[in-house]
């Protein structure tokens, strides 16, 4: 927690981190909803602040760092459970998220601080290239239940990803993460 506070202070966004509250919530799994709400609201507030300060590239780096960390953990768990299809698919569908991250990076192509990470992310994109996501659209239906329009989604996606793909993605993710933290 002290590392988070120190890092946030160095980035001049320390005012958004109530470390005491976050620490208290993080120690009890019953508080995960509150923790999620606080961290989401925090990120939105930080993003808004950084945009006002013309430091929006930092928002993109924060987002990318969080995503890479989650990817690394998921890949580790998936490698320990190679037969877990759902976990593999969860990794595979991150291809779409990576596309969106790369789209964000494209706005900062002339930014030297972003260039090296962008180059790494493009290598990660290559590791995702063999994965196919097939989307089949079918018209949805809906009904109103207790004042809420509840949709029945009839479309589907199938994600084709092999264990080798997971290994390649994990290797590249670990490599990027190690470069960031070293």
């Amino acid at each position: 927690m002290s590392s988070i506070k120190s890092l946030a202070n160095q980035l001049n966004i320390g005012q958004f981190f109530d470390i005491e509250t976050i620490g208290r919530l993080a120690t009890n799994s019953k508080n995960l909803d509150s923790l999620l709400l606080i961290t989401t609201q925090n990120f939105n507030a930080i993003n808004h602040y950084l945009q006002q300060q013309n430091r929006s590239s930092l928002s993109v780096l924060l987002l990318t760092g969080g995503w890479l960390e989650a990817m690394q953990v998921t890949c580790q768990v998936a490698s320990s459970n190679p037969s877990h299809k759902e976990l593999r698919e969860k990794i595979g569908e991150q291809k779409i998220t990576l596309e969106q991250i790369l789209l964000l990076f494209s706005f900062y192509e002339s930014d030297e601080n972003m260039a090296s990470l962008l180059s790494e992310l493009k290598e990660l994109e290559a590791a995702f290239s063999k994965i196919t996501i097939t989307y089949t659209y079918k018209e949805s239906s809906m009904e109103v239940v207790n004042g809420v329009a509840v949709i029945k989604d009839n479309s589907t996606t199938t994600i084709d990803i092999t264990e080798e793909d997971v290994r390649n993605i994990m290797a590249k993710t670990n490599s990027i993460r190690n470069k960031i933290i070293s």
Partner: protein, 166 residues
Amino acid sequence: MCVTSWQKQILSETKSLANIVLDMKKIYLSVVLVFIASWGSAGLVGQCDADNLSNACIPKLSGGFNFLKSYKIDGEGGTKDKVEYSYVFTKGTQYMINLCADGNGPDGLVVSLYDSQRNKVASSKVNGQFISAIAYPCNATGIYYIQYTFDGSATYCGGSALGFKR
């Protein structure tokens, strides 16, 4: 006696004229004040506090949905016909998008959800009825477009929150 009577009449008519002028001044002043007041309030109506409305929408995410993102809906008094955002939805996750406007209902605000191929998959206007929230159990991972439109809205202003649960 005759002169006095004539003088009295003149005096009385002068007073009546003065009263009429005074009344006209009052009327003129009232008209000006009403104009200024209505002009001022029109300016206030034109201001869209979408920030507040989107924040107000967050606690209205009911049924165990966790907050993800809030959206401002500012149709700039009708000059914009739609406001659009995008989000990556994943299969196996249920999403809720709600609407908040001044007053009780959604004030003609409609949220529609489009998939990556721009097929409409959900709308908060059902059989001509304006619904304040949609729940979308996602079955297909991909980028989705959350589009807000105005259908007979008085303020062209509102807020919205996106939540999820598994």
